[in-house]
Amino acid sequence: MKTNDGPKTGVTNDDARRDAVDAFVNSLKRRRHDAPAKTMLPEDIEIVTRLVERDEDPAALFTQTATTVGVNVHSATTADWLDVVAKLLQEHQAKDAAIPPVGDGFFEAERVEQLKQRLVADGVAAKSETDDETLFSVDMAITGVAAAIAETGTIACEARPIIARGSSLIPPVHIAVVAAEQLLPDLCDYFNVLSKRSELPADASLITGPSKTADIEGVLVTGVHGPATVHVVLVRES
């Protein structure tokens, strides 16, 4: 290991840093040399791990599981989804809302445009910026999702060049619009999808319910750091 160039932690010296890591792994190798590995890596793990079969109706199951974890699920069709979203905005008396970029799951260009127009018509400011000023002040965020998981009532939000992590995290209310085709039966299915990608997103977050704590005397409270309220609008082809 080089000791004289730069501090010994190697934080500012990539070579020293890598040398230290390699030296450790090599020392482990030498130490474990004569202890033969006995346990095989199980291959067929999905047989045991899968809880929901592919032929089950994921929409019905998702509605049930998501409700159990505290998500408000609203069913809609491609014809009336805007009304469902608009009604939620009204119920929360939102003055403004962060809106999704084009290409965020359900939100094709035309749908983003429709959403914008509807918000303006209803007197809600539609914010497409994702800077701190916006995300820390808006009343709610509307987003698409990368996938949803019926087994656990989970929505998956992935960071992409157009999609900010903060949108599904910082505002106090989160409305996620999920196309029925995006539903996966089991958690295993999501990981199978991820495994097949050539590149993983820098952040993929599985969100199962509103932000929660039971730290104070075991009493359940929502909205500690993430949204206190999560709505999923589940849209079927009409």
Partner: protein, 467 residues
């Protein structure tokens, strides 16, 4: 050593005397045990799943150098910088250096037992970096200058009045005892911190060798905040946290939350693969992983290797009748409860913590609760054996005599008969003052009087000729 021992006894006596803490811990754990049992009953292959989890982890540990290599090169591909820390001091030094080089002044931490293990907060503060715990429970612990008492529910020992007083003192808010309002106060206070922080520090629940992905599970969302808001993210990773493949994760994720709190999945399960891509709107510009050894490679090569399978779900704490009666503080170690009684002596010295593995009734409730099938009682006995020769001379002599008696049927019979003489019940029918050395034992327990006839004799008289 004897000073340590009496410390330990005193802490236990104090723990047993604190009715309020006992009630709080009882209430919280009993409720949890029920929810967890319900959640696990919905897993149709629960036992097979535990078996699978245990095997995947065991396999990874037995082949750790190879998987570490894989993980490290995947990280380098993703742009994650990997550091190595041989011990707690080295880890502190690296993290402080990262803070210094990146010019960080305000650090946020999401709950992590591993950072507790290296006592990071004090070091960062000393280096001029304000460090704020963001898990609600850990935040209360921090502003109250207390210590966490449970690996999943850090303030299980506090009531709402204590929490309210701490928050009023720290934030100047109006006094309230309502948990929802108290949480809102903390949220508001910590939002401001999240908005301006520049360094995020997390532990890691699982690290995937094939992709260099780290997985962080939180319910409050502080894990996701900590990996989203600051410019720099440092993840402290105990080398035992590796799993081989991305598709192994569901096995553990399905067990972790169900065994821990009875949820199907923690609310936020965040998978981080490298720093933000150049065009991503938010996320950290730098991701550092600090690989921590701190005694783990020693365990890896020895008979206690299984201990490293632990996924820190806390189920063994909730299942344990001892823990439920004294809470976590009496253990006097970073990792409390059954798993702590194994990990603490193994990581920080068997001799210094010789009492911990002995403070268990070996009932086995923890083993049955553990999602990775750790044989905690069996391992505790193995650990006890390691410090046998450090027991007091009288105890060792006693054990030798005991062995001698137990090996000879004649001796055994003699002693059995004489016991009826020595052990006289009190008026209530129990023996609460044993003679001689037995007095120590009966100080805290009562013994039923020996029966009139021994089992041997009854067998001979009543059943022996029946077959």
């Amino acid at each position: 050593m004897s000073a340590k021992k009496s410390d330990f006894r005193q802490r236990i006596a104090a723990g047993m005397a604190d009715r309020r803490v006992i009630r709080a811990v009882h209430q919280a754990t009993f409720h949890k045990v029920e929810t967890v049992a319900d959640a696990l009953s919905l897993l149709r292959n629960h036992q097979e799943l535990r078996d699978l989890a245990a095997r995947i982890k065991q396999h990874t540990l037995e082949n750790l150098p190879g998987y570490l290599e894989q993980f490290i090169s995947a990280c380098e591909r993703n742009g994650t910088r990997v550091h190595f820390a041989a011990d707690a001091a080295a880890a502190r030094e690296i993290i402080c250096e990262i803070a210094r080089v990146s010019g960080s002044k305000l650090a946020v931490k999401s709950k992590s037992m591993t950072t507790e293990e290296i006592h990071l907060n004090e070091a960062l503060e000393a280096a001029g970096v304000r460090t704020v715990e963001t898990d609600l429970g850990e935040f209360i612990v921090q502003i109250d200058h207390d210590r966490p008492s449970h690996i999943v529910s850090p303030i299980i020992h506090k009531d709402r009045q204590q929490i309210a007083r701490a928050l009023v003192r720290e934030t100047g808010c109006d006094y309230t005892e309502d948990p929802t309002e108290l949480t809102a106060v903390a949220r508001k206070h910590l939002r401001d911190v999240f908005r301006h922080c520049d360094l995020g520090i997390t532990g890691v629940n699982f690290a995937v060798a094939e992709t260099g992905t780290i997985c962080i599970c939180t319910n409050e969302g502080n894990g996701r905040m900590t990996t989203t808001r600051p410019r720099v993210h440092v993840a402290l990773l105990g080398i035992e946290k590796l799993v081989p493949r991305l598709r192994d994760l569901p096995v553990f994720l399905k067990l972790l939350a169900r065994s821990s709190t009875g949820q199907p999945l923690t609310v936020y399960t965040t998978l981080i693969t490298g720093p933000k891509r150049p065009a991503d709107p938010d996320g950290p510009e730098q991701v550092h992983v600090v690989l921590l050894d701190n005694g783990r490679s020693e365990i890896l090569g020895g008979p206690f290797i299984e201990v490293l399978r632990c996924i820190r779900c806390g189920a063994c704490l909730n299942a344990c009748p001892v823990f439920r009666n004294i809470g976590g503080h009496a253990y006097g170690s970073v990792y409390p409860g059954p798993i702590g009684s194994l990990v603490t002596p193994l990581l920080s010295g068997i001799v210094a913590h010789a009492e911990l593995p002995r403070a268990s009734s070996l009932c086995g409730a923890c083993r049955d609760a553990c999602p990775v099938k750790l044989d905690i009682p069996g391992l505790l006995v193995k650990l006890r054996a390691r410090t046998c020769n450090r027991q007091p001379l009288t105890k060792r002599m006693g054990m030798t005599i005991w062995k001698w008696i137990m090996r000879s049927p004649t001796m055994f019979g003699c002693v059995q008969r004489s016991m009826r003489w020595f052990l006289r019940p009190d008026r209530d029918g129990w023996i609460s003052n044993g003679p001689g050395p037995a007095g120590e034992w009966t100080k805290v327990r009562d013994l039923p009087p020996p029966p009139k006839k021994s089992f041997h004799r009854r067998w001979r008289e009543e059943w022996a000729d029946e077959d």
